[in-house]
């Protein structure tokens, strides 16, 4: 359904690549060619340029090792790979939170700065909005942040996040809503919504 149009011509959908890689392990590299760039960008966005190479390589090595447990009914392996990447990124929680807090306090983003030339310093108005947002992201639990950023930055659907993290869709919903509520509160919007939050908690 998704993935590059040439995917089928180059070895079938992702589930089939995984299945065939059990016998012909080198075929697994097809998945790397399809998704490594996506995963790399996601890791660079969460942790910075320096960590992205290792997170990407480790994601695919981990995926390769557990490929016999891949659910072959899932034609698209992208959510699965993001799930693994998210877990690896989660192990660097303090790094991630430290950078977000630095952005919140100083308006300078160490993660964006790590990208070098590709990054252009934000204007003051953008920074004004980014500070509270970064602070809110830093204050989220690792699980809530993982779900929020898989939806917002990796464009996964709820169902895909559920598959990626091996949790029920209802849990995805509740984590996402909690995260969104906290972000919204931090951005100073809609006092009615804050009352909702108090009720639920």
């Amino acid at each position: 359904m998704s993935g590059p149009p040439s995917a089928a011509a180059r070895g079938g959908d992702d589930a089939e690549v995984v299945a065939r890689s059990l016998e012909e392990p080198e075929l697994f590299a097809l998945l790397y060619d399809r998704y490594a760039a996506d995963i790399h960008r996601y890791a660079a966005r969460r942790l910075g340029d320096g960590a992205a190479d290792d997170v990407t390589a480790d994601t695919f090595l981990a995926a390769f090792r557990i490929r016999s447990r891949y659910d072959l009914s899932r034609a698209n392996a992208r959510p699965w790979l993001y799930g693994i990447a998210g877990n690896l990124i989660g192990k660097q929680r303090r790094t991630e939170v430290r950078a977000l807090k630095a952005l919140a306090r100083t308006g300078r983003d160490p993660v964006a700065a790590s990208w070098g030339d590709s990054w252009v310093e934000d204007t003051d108005s953008r920074i004004a909005a980014q500070g509270p947002l970064a602070g809110a992201l830093a204050a989220l639990s690792a699980g809530d942040r993982n779900v929020l950023l898989l939806v917002a930055w990796a464009d996964l659907t709820y169902q895909e996040v559920a598959e990626a993290l091996g949790i029920p869709v209802g849990t995805v919903r509740s984590r996402l809503n909690r995260a969104r509520r906290k972000v919204r509160t931090a951005l100073g919007a809609d006092p009615a919504f804050v009352n909702d939050a108090a009720e639920v908690a």
Binding site: Y32, A37, W115, S118, A129, L133, P168, S174, R178, R184
Partner: protein, 330 residues
Amino acid sequence: MDEMTHVRELRAEATEPDRGRLAAGRTRLTEAALAGQRRRALWRRREFVIVAVVAAVTAVAVTVTVLLAGTTPGRKVEPAATPNADLRGLSAAQLLERAAELVEKEPDSAVPRADQWIYTLQMAEAPDPGTVKVLGRAAIEQPGWIRYDGSAMASVNPVPKGQKSKLSVTKMHLENGGEGDDRSPRELYRVLDALPAGAEQTLKFLREKNAIADGKGTTQAESDYTEISVLLTAYVMPSKGLASLYRALATLPGGKVVDHLVKDAAGRRVIALAYPRDGTLKSGESMADQWLIDPQTYRIVGTRMLVDGKVVGGQSIAARAVVDKAGARG
């Protein structure tokens, strides 16, 4: 600008790496793959792996039976005297027409109030054995509540065996597209209630409204199927709307009735109606959805996912009720 837009814009300038950046990681992967290749002799044929998977599924089915013995909240449906006879040779279209005729005569139950909750107890089909080991029955029995107006959901968070589980309520904004592609029970009901009689009219209505899901399929039939599938899982269904859906589904290609009743995760013997999924694997494995239909009420009581005829996932609805508060079970 809502908060999701703010989050999406943060660090949006991140760019994709060039191939050179990715080369080292690819080499690490192919090295690992070659090491795996050398161990290939140990793998034996892939069929062996599949047999192992089937064995695991069977083992779980046994576990389910043991865990639920004596405590299944759903009613028991005794198999009819000759349960299989009238399914043999029955086409999907014939089954669905029979179902439509039966359900359209049923009176509708009261439409829930906006502040009422729909309680659903789902039983996992083919749950992961590892999860069952840790969570026990909580991995199989999944009670859930959703408010009719889609403003909140509630679930019992699974906890490891022996611990006390707790109800967790989450505020939602399901209506008017507040949660992306999801819909409230009330919105689903309204679409169903507005469906015209007749298969073609229903399909036309669904295509024009594109009310539920963006058709992801490449063909019209696949888009229609996606749209109908979502509506078939609505929480509250008016009888005539369901009949229209059944008749619309009957015009789509690919449906097959399993020629005997199958046992679902709630322990009932039910009719299984299968539709192949697009993206059948070239290795010969085929994927299919199975709709589980109560042989007496002809209402849908579950869905399963099959790979090569083996159940790999899904849920059976063991109980459903309209209740006044989250946590109540009718």
